[in-house]
Amino acid sequence: MNRRDFLRGAAGAGLPAVCGRLAAQAAGPTLTRVEARYYVKLPDREIECRLCPRFCRLGDKERGYCGVRENQGGTYYSLVYGKACSLNVDPVEKKPFFHVLPGTTALSMATAGCNVNCKFCQNWEISQVRAEQVEHFDFPPEAAAAKAVSSGCPSIAYTYSEPTVFFEYMFDTAERARRRGVRSLVVTGGHINPEPLADLLAVVDAVKVDLKGFTEGFYKAYVRGELKPVLETIRTVARSKVWLEIVYLVIPTLNDRPEDIRAMARWAHDTAGADVPVHFSRFHPMYLMKNLPPTPLSTLEAARETALGQGLRFVYIGNVPGHEAESTYCPGCGQAVIRRVGYSIETVRLKKGKCASCGTAIPGIWA
């Protein structure tokens, strides 16, 4: 029965018709059933997922917090392997990665699902729904790798929702992409356990972690997650050969206390080094947090000054197109080595990863 027939039947049945806007409607019986990695089987057809710090323990027919992994008869499955729900060619600066192949595009993809529930989520229509509630399409790993090449994208970004929840799909895509010379960039909230993270770091090139606050209280109240495992993820990435950037969305009155910003910046410096890029992004009212105003520019600028004062050398302001703190400045001579306006690159004054003016090495992936 199609929708028109249904509505005709509803009208005939005396029930009011329901038509018009539909959200999170089922997309059809096209989900996959690929056995998940990182779980253990327990007695009585139960399983424990060990992909992320939630350690969901699930009985038969139950689904994890992420909404895209399900226990079916004692075997745990990913329902979204090869089932992308978002696909775009984006500037890599949009992720944002500011020290990775500037001026290039990243094939950006996502499936449904997320392992936290941020009240300020920008993509909740795909991240906070179950797998079958969003339109998706077949896009297996090999096709993704090929599409990146044919689209002229030197990288694939796993982004929009939380790629940890489609780990198997991301991992296999990254492997295939690497064989074709395409890099993989992960945009994550950082809620992932050490073992899968270690495996992931072997096949990807850069990770951007959204550090959403710097207190456990904030994470519990507004993220529905924990801070500690996120910090562990940042620490692990920083110790690896994979490039790391950190984004801190500054939300008025909730995570913008100067002492928290200072503590975060100090921690980032001590943990990831002075060269880790830190982006302070402007909050916009969204999802379940529409009662707060956008972040004042003065707050962002103060946060940046605080972070610079803690010794971080590459501190940016995001979501404020045209602001001078979108650009990269050489810590040696102070000259702009990459000048940005929004997601556009105006000038790049780098030579083999060094400042064209003074020769200071600028860390990142430049070619």
């Binding site: 249904f6 049945a13 323990r57 529905r224």
Partner: protein, 299 residues
């Protein structure tokens, strides 16, 4: 506040020797339950006390457990038949749950047509979820349009099960099946989420009564089905107080647990915390001592 009434109707004869349900006995159980609940002698007067002829009644069932441990189709059909007998037109009754597939897997005969009691899931063509979020306390969800647009009155016809996190899943948690993101509300033993989903306007404005299908229950290791911890209780639990109804369900589960040599939910550290939260929110009463429980046993 008056003591809330809970009516527990038990009929061991509702189960045949072959393990199927006896429709005539089931029908009588509904009559007994509703008349006792309303203090009316006649079924029609009980129906009139609870419903108006123009009501569009949604019967929210819980079918996530498949055929083994879900609200039974026979129970839902018996309730629908009782409603029809009480003056509700069949075409104004919808038996529904989250997905049509789960309903079918639990044994329901799907009917999306124009006549008779209709049976389908929120994922049916033309149904779906609301496009605007309901933002209520700690809950931010899209509610099923079956609940918000098709029906004017809701009956929670839940299955009674142990729940590893919530302690109990019964009439209140049944409404997790009315939202698009129930997986987001299992932290902290599902508390305060069970109470808050129920308190959200789409549910609270329509919920009329709770009937718990306790013909067979899962008293341990739920909500999934485990044969060795499932038991035939042969009962239905009725209440206008959603909190009291679930409290009665908890008592039933603990009774089976005790008989099986298992610790109580409380002793196991799985006291259904959502009940106390619901009481604090004014949704009903959770203390067994203040609940008027009427137990009816029959053939």
């Amino acid at each position: 506040m008056d003591a809330p009434r809970v009516v527990i109707v038990r009929s061991p004869g509702v189960w045949t020797a072959a393990g199927s349900l006896e429709p005539a006995v089931l029908a009588r159980m509904f009559v007994r339950g509703f008349t006792a609940l309303t203090d009316e002698r006649e079924s029609a007067r009980a129906a009139a006390a609870l419903f108006r002829p123009g009501d569009r009644v949604g019967i929210k069932v819980n079918t996530i457990g498949g055929r083994a441990i879900s609200t039974r189709p026979e129970t839902a059909q018996a309730l629908a038949a009782w409603l029809v007998g009480g003056g509700i037109e069949a075409r104004n009754i919808v038996i529904w749950d989250r997905t049509t597939r789960e309903l079918r897997d639990a044994g329901f005969a799907i009917n999306t047509g124009g006549s008779g009691v209709r049976i389908f899931g929120t994922d049916a063509d033309g149904a779906g979820y609301e496009s605007d979020l309901t933002d209520h306390l700690d809950v931010g969800s899209l509610f099923s349009r079956i609940l918000t647009e098709l029906v004017s009155v809701s009956v929670s016809l839940a299955i009674l099960k142990d729940h590893g996190l919530a302690g109990v899943t019964a009439g209140m948690k049944n409404y997790f099946g009315a939202i698009h993101n129930p997986n987001k509300y299992h932290d902290d033993r599902c508390d305060p989420f069970v109470a808050q989903v129920f308190d959200a306007p789409p549910v609270k404005a329509r919920h009329r009564l709770t009937v718990i299908d306790a013909l067979a229950v899962q008293f341990h290791r739920g909500p999934s089905y485990h044969a060795r911890w499932a038991a035939k209780f042969g009962g239905l639990i009725f209440s206008l107080d959603p909190v009291a109804a679930d409290r009665a369900g908890w008592t039933v589960l603990d009774r089976f647990r005790r008989e099986a040599g298992l610790p109580s939910l409380e002793a196991e550290g799985r006291r259904p915390a959502y009940l106390a939260t619901a009481e604090k929110m004014g949704l009903g009463r959770s203390e067994a001592s203040v609940i008027e429980t009427i137990e009816e046993a029959g053939p």
